[in-house]
């Protein structure tokens, strides 16, 4: 049974993730007063890229790309999608956070292996940015874990049955959402891939299959990140309700990113460690003294 559930989770990640990315492109197009590609454009992109003959930059490069995709797929299978939980009892916040690092490190290793200075700068920026958003995010998660005395995502979801964490701990939810924007690489936090500066950074040497695999990796990571936010802050519910909440969060993030430019990398870290980190500590303090709505 578990294997079917894992398959269902991964297929959801694939189809819903790519569809919503296509819809996001359409939404951004409308903000920019143009028509935009069809909603299924990302499927076309991925299948086309995967069907072409690629160019490798050595085995570290190959291994890094596979590690990135594998790591993210492994992470996704542990994330509960509403009431669809592939590994009940193992869907822990820490499991997800640690497994998620495997994908990021795989990507870093592979892209640096390509030998392009733009890729190295991009990876350095991505890891620096991670340092920026992880700290406030973890502080706000720690407050929640402390409050509910559990780190199981399913339990956290079930415990929000009366009121969502979004309303119980609004400051923490805001911090998590700002961190989520950084995780998704949405503007103003798309510094690691900044096309005008470092020619798309990590992706600069990717061709065909490698690009396809990384696009899939990106889709799955988006799915993991938003699912985690939805599960922890927007309460539980059935599979379909979960997907609805997921879509709303994704569209809000897309709309915000459509009208903002990007920060410089040191501005990213400065921002995260000043505003969201301060707010996260404030929320943690409120939880400690019992001020929870």
């Amino acid at each position: 049974m578990t294997i079917f559930k894992v398959a269902a989770v991964l297929l959801t990640g694939f189809f819903v993730g790519l569809t919503l990315e296509g819809i996001a492109r359409k939404i951004i197009a409308r903000v920019q007063r143009r028509y935009g590609p069809p909603w299924y454009q990302n499927f076309i992109d991925v299948f086309k890229a995967l069907s072409k003959h690629g160019f490798s930059h050595g085995w570290i490069f190959d291994f890094g790309v596979l590690m990135a995709l594998g790591g993210v797929i492994a992470t996704l299978s542990f994330v509960p999608l509403g009431n669809l939980v592939a590994f009940p009892g193992l869907d822990n916040v820490f499991v997800v956070l640690y497994l998620f690092a495997v994908g990021a490190l795989g990507m870093a290793m592979g892209m640096v292996g390509s030998g392009n200075p733009n890729a190295s700068i991009g990876v350095a920026r991505a890891l620096t940015q991670m340092l920026g958003y992880e700290v406030p995010y973890l502080v706000s998660l720690a407050a929640i874990i402390f409050y509910y005395k559990t780190s199981s995502i399913s339990n956290l979801m079930n415990l929000q049955a009366d009121s969502w964490n979004l309303f119980k701990m609004p400051i923490g939810a805001a911090v998590a959402f700002i961190s989520l924007m950084g995780m998704l690489g949405k503007k103003p936090f798309d510094t690691p891939i900044a096309p005008a500066e470092i020619a798309s950074g990590p992706m600069v040497e990717l061709s065909s299959k490698y690009m396809g695999l990384l696009m899939l990796m990106h889709t799955f990571s988006i799915f993991v990140e938003i699912s985690l936010f939805v599960d922890i802050f927007l309460g539980g519910g059935s599979y379909l309700v979960f997907l609805l909440k997921f879509t709303v969060v994704w569209i809000i993030a897309t709309l915000i990113s459509a009208v903002l430019p990007r920060f410089r990398i040191e501005q990213v870290v400065k921002f995260y460690w000043r505003v969201p980190l301060g707010l996260a500590f404030l929320q943690a303090f409120f939880v400690l003294i019992g001020w929870v709505f």
Binding site: N118, P188, A194, A199, S200, V259, L260, F263, I265
Partner: protein, 367 residues
Amino acid sequence: MGEVKLFFGPNHPGMHGNFSVHLYVEGDTVVKAKPLPGFLHRGFEKLMERRTWFQNVALIPRICVPEPDINEVCYSMAIEKIAKIDVPERAQWIRMIVLELARIANHLWSFAGIGGPLGLYTGPFWGVADRDRILDIFEQLTGARIYHMYIIPGGVRKEMPSKIQDMISQTLDYIESRLPDYENLILRNRIVQTRLKGIALLDRESALTMGVTGIGLRATGVPYDLRKVDPYLYYNYVDFEVPTATEGDAYSRIKLKYLEIKQSIRIIRQVLEKMPEGPINTKFSDGNALRYRVPKGYAYVHVEATRGEYGYFVVSNGEDKPYRVTVRGASYPQGLYGIEKYLPGTRIEDVPIWLDTMGVCAPEIDR
């Protein structure tokens, strides 16, 4: 991390046009920058010496892609000055309309240009789409969208179509209605301010020493605008202001571009009111225009382009071809000396901002 050499252009999303800067970076900081022009070198100035006076009319717009009309005006005014040709009044007013429309189009494109380096991709799409409306006017007026070849020695090529004035007024109204959107999206955007304020600084002394003109100089507080300082055409008959700023940074330059669009709209409206009826060009050569010979002499004429002073020095030895033509590209000083002198010490992120707000235009350097 040691020093890494980064090829910034010619194939780089942050680069406008065929131009390259070799950056030596340590981490994200530029240690040394070396501009490498020459990718677009067609030898415009030399080519002009091999073509007759009127054949050159088709060649010169290519020197500046975003704003080709300044070339036509400069070249025509130089010939008119040497040959002492009187240009009909109406033609001069039409030239002003063309120049100001081109200025608006170029500034809108500049909003598009700043969107790329900042990652604000809504700017490019809005800017280019709105600029397209001005290109529509040009198409109606001249038959071409980019390279018009409309302004010729002695006047302009054709009379304006009958309904073009309404079209211009409507487009101006539309662009004016869009300006608050641009202000909200770009100028009042908090992150844009964080990215641009205090970045790509150029102080007044350096600007004057290097020979930077236009917005680069006006952003340092010097109200140097040729339309006021040395009025050409009928700029002394219209009311407009020259916006200046004192900060000398990238943000003030973008803001000046925004304010200049308003002034250009104001100028065009006045021109449409004041423009008299009458002939649109002077017939000054009998028979075949291609055999026309400009009398011996020389002249320097300059106009205010969006990037600064744009000038033509034309020498004629009485032949059917120019003896020598020199073009003063408006972005030449900041494009070559500025990059070498001011990019070291900045960050990679700020390199495209310098290139864009300074209006570095590769063909002007490669002419």
